[in-house]
């Protein structure tokens, strides 16, 4: 019971302090889930993100369910998700009821623009951390992973190929090349 409450509160904190959802959540997740609570490793968090991006539903919720499920089973998955959406429910209901023009207040706009800058830096910081794990193996760059990452980044930047397809194809290519390498060896 205590674990479930802990799970709920942690995810409520994450849901209540991330702006934009999904990707913006990553730096706070790294801190809370990986460093503070040790509910998942950095690699697992990355796996959850990867899967969360190509399964139905929004990324933030998928990731929350994954982590909760790993830590406390099915009920954990449900609790983590409820925790993650609880702040939204309260805040949005209040705004919808009393402050319909909330988004047009200058003070809100200025605060958001500041937050936006901060989130940019936090995301890039998170990417550097992830890259150290996902693109390197035993301290050396992993050529296959680096080429996949470059290819996916370029495809996302210059084409309209869906991210779902990019992720799935990356997994398939990686399995195929590694299998071929095994067959040769």
């Amino acid at each position: 019971m205590k674990e479930l409450w802990n799970l709920f509160v942690t995810f409520a904190k994450i849901g209540g302090f991330t702006f934009g959802g999904g990707y913006a959540m990553l730096p706070v997740l790294q801190r809370e889930i990986v460093e503070n609570k040790h509910w998942a490793t950095e690699e697992e968090l990355m796996d959850y993100y990867a899967i969360g991006q190509c399964t139905p539903g929004i990324i933030a919720i998928n990731t929350a369910t994954f982590i909760g499920c790993k830590y406390q089973g099915i009920i954990g998955g449900i609790i983590a998700t409820l925790g993650c959406i609880a702040p939204s429910l309260v805040i949005i209901t209040i705004i919808a009821a009393f402050l319909q023009n909330f988004a047009s207040f200058p003070v809100v706009q200025h605060a958001l623009n500041g937050i936006c800058v901060c989130v940019t830096v936090l995301i890039f910081n998170a990417v550097i951390r992830l890259g150290r794990k996902s693109l390197f193996r035993k301290e050396k760059p992993n050529p296959l992973a680096v080429s996949i990452a470059v290819f996916v980044f370029a495809a996302a930047l210059f084409t309209d190929i869906s991210t779902v397809f990019l992720i799935i194809i990356s997994g398939i290519i990686c399995v195929a090349i590694r299998k071929m390498g095994e067959a040769k060896a």
């Binding site: 849901g15 702006f19 706070v28 139905p56 929004i58 939204s88 949005i92 693109l135 996949i148 990356s170």
Partner: protein
């Protein structure tokens, strides 16, 4: 009651078929507006603005807002619950399957590729946010002056935050004052909070 059921069902459908970030739910909102008339297409713009300017996942924020406007507080519960139900079910199943095949070679190879792709996509998302935060493309298009392209306040703040994360001057100062070794670095939430205040003070 019938309204609540169709509210749940509409967002259940969105949660089942929208894949990716919160903005992936947008096309479904347009369809919903046409089909049900719960809100107009013009309301969607305000909906997105509010969802972006409040904490929490955008999709959940939008579902709550729509839920409240259609049927009050109960609706603001039912909408998001409908949205997250498919996620919960699917992820629990995926998570069970994953547990079983975690140690297989093929899974590990697949994840090697998935992790690399995921890193690249997060970097791409970071670039999209950076474009909003550090550049002022609108102003540039109007004036065609290169100095208008950059939003200097944003770039300065970004550099300060980066320096604080990288060289940890605040953590060092704290250690100096308290004399205690504290290995924890500043929480990202603190950076977000301070940036909001800086944004208000300096009119970002």
């Amino acid at each position: 009651m019938k309204l609540l059921i169709s509210l749940f069902f509409e967002f259940f459908k969105t949660g089942l078929f929208a894949i990716g970030g919160g903005l992936a739910t947008l096309p479904f909102l347009y369809e919903m507006s046409e089909k049900t008339g719960w809100f107009t297409v013009n309301d969607i713009a305000n909906l997105v603005a509010v969802s972006e300017s409040t904490p929490g996942p955008m999709g959940v924020n939008m579902a709550t807002y729509v839920g409240y406007t259609t049927s009050g507080i109960i609706g603001s519960l039912i909408g998001p619950l409908g949205l997250v139900t498919p996620s919960i079910v699917i992820i629990i199943i995926v998570s069970k399957i994953l547990k079983r095949f975690k140690d297989s070679k093929i899974t590990q190879y697949a994840f090697e590729g998935l992790r690399a792709a995921s890193t690249a996509l997060i970097a791409y998302a970071g670039c999209s946010v950076a474009k909003l935060a550090l550049f002022d493309t609108e102003c540039y298009q109007r004036s065609k002056q290169l100095q208008d392209l950059f939003s200097f306040k944003g770039i300065i703040l970004a550099f300060i935050i980066f320096a604080c994360i990288k060289w940890q001057p605040i953590e060092k100062l704290r250690k100096h004052i308290t004399g205690k070794e504290n290995r924890k670095t500043l929480h990202p939430i603190i950076y977000i909070f301070v940036s909001a205040i800086v944004g208000i003070t300096f009119q970002f």
